[in-house]
Symmetry: C2
């Protein structure tokens, strides 16, 4: 039986062997939700970038600068971190340079894995099918918030563990904890998340609509995948 | 309102400021359960020691060597890591030198806090009352398993958060996650923990009786407290 494990914070990555695993990076609010949305609407590529300067450098090479710091759009950037900015005809064919507080850092730490894919509730069933049919053991890497564990990424991890429970065995206690939390929350995830620190932070930024969208399963089928440091559909 | 936070693994300690907090170190299976049991039965002091050699050095100074590595008693040590070894008249007045895989490492990393106390289900209500009446914000440090998050320590953290929910506000998402898990588990914690990796590991060592005892609330009232590197009642 293949195994599934969950790394609840990028700060715990050194505890997990990733060379032979498929790593799923998740940052529900909102980096990986944006990425999935962007690919579903036809962007050409997304280059995850750890810092702002590097992102701005890529702008001179024709990339569209995207992302956030502390939940807010970066001054001088073309796009922020709301999935609604990555919809419609105008994103088709774009090359995005993307940097966020947590999500792109988690991708950075996942390099070295056998393969790295991008997960969100928006492409949940596609991710679950992909992992089921793949040959590798699985590690879900939650981006968290500045190294701390967060609820929304943990819920996504729990959803994957729950849906694969008859096929992939948990490697440790973190997948079990995530699975329990998902089963408590799944009836109304928005309500469950209302007390969460990041949702409170985001509600202050008036993006309740983003939050509702980001926890809606199966809007898209695309699975972004990292190849030579660049995400492709 | 005072705040309460939960550090789910000692590997995340650098993310938390501890100078002004009361830190509760917890290693339910079984280090902190042993420590509480030992003080309840009259040991004089427990000196937490990070490695085996240091522990054996203290033996020459009249200390009783105690603890485990990978769940098993250490060769040449006087006592192992079962709470039942720390009961009865024969432990009264002893000075213990204690080292375990996870618990004593978590204590080591908590030095520098305003104060450090030892928690377990066995002294749960005493710990809750102490935190309620104290002036400091609270951080519960889960010892985990070799850096990874475990269920049993998280449940204890959740029990404390739940019991103090009207008095101490959560600082982050980890206390909320722990609280939800405790509320799922509290009806039958032994059953809830049956799937946990550490409980499976311990069941292979035939210590089901230890596990049942270690999740029984309120057997003792004592609160061990760290003073100059030594635990006292």
């Amino acid at each position: 039986m293949k195994t599934i494990d969950v790394c609840l914070s990028p700060e715990l990555m050194h505890l997990y062997e990733i060379e032979n695993r498929t790593v799923v990076v998740v940052d529900i609010l909102r980096a990986t939700s944006c990425m999935v949305t962007a690919f579903a609407h036809g962007v050409d590529s997304i280059t995850p970038v750890a810092n702002l300067d590097e992102c701005l450098k890529l702008k001179t090479k024709g990339y569209v600068t995207s992302g956030e710091r502390d939940g807010k759009k970066v001054e001088g950037f073309d796009k922020g971190n709301s999935p609604f900015e990555y919809m419609g005809e105008q994103v088709r064919g774009l090359k995005l340079a993307f940097t966020t507080t947590n999500g792109t850092q988690a991708i950075e730490k996942s390099k070295g894995a056998k393969e790295v894919i991008i997960g969100s509730f928006l492409n949940l069933t596609s991710v679950v099918r992909y992992l089921l049919l793949g040959e590798n053991n699985v590690l879900i890497v939650c981006a968290g918030w500045k190294g701390r564990v967060n609820l929304e990424d943990t819920l996504f991890a729990g959803a994957v563990v729950e849906k694969l429970k008859d096929y992939l065995g948990p490697d440790c206690d973190a997948p079990l904890a995530a699975q329990h939390l998902y089963n408590v929350a799944k009836g109304d995830m928005v309500k469950f998340l209302e007390a969460s620190s990041h949702v409170k932070r985001l509600n202050r930024l008036n993006i309740h609509k983003d939050i509702e969208f980001c926890v809606t399963p199966d809007q898209y089928k695309v699975i972004p995948k990292l190849k030579n440091g660049v995400l492709l559909a």
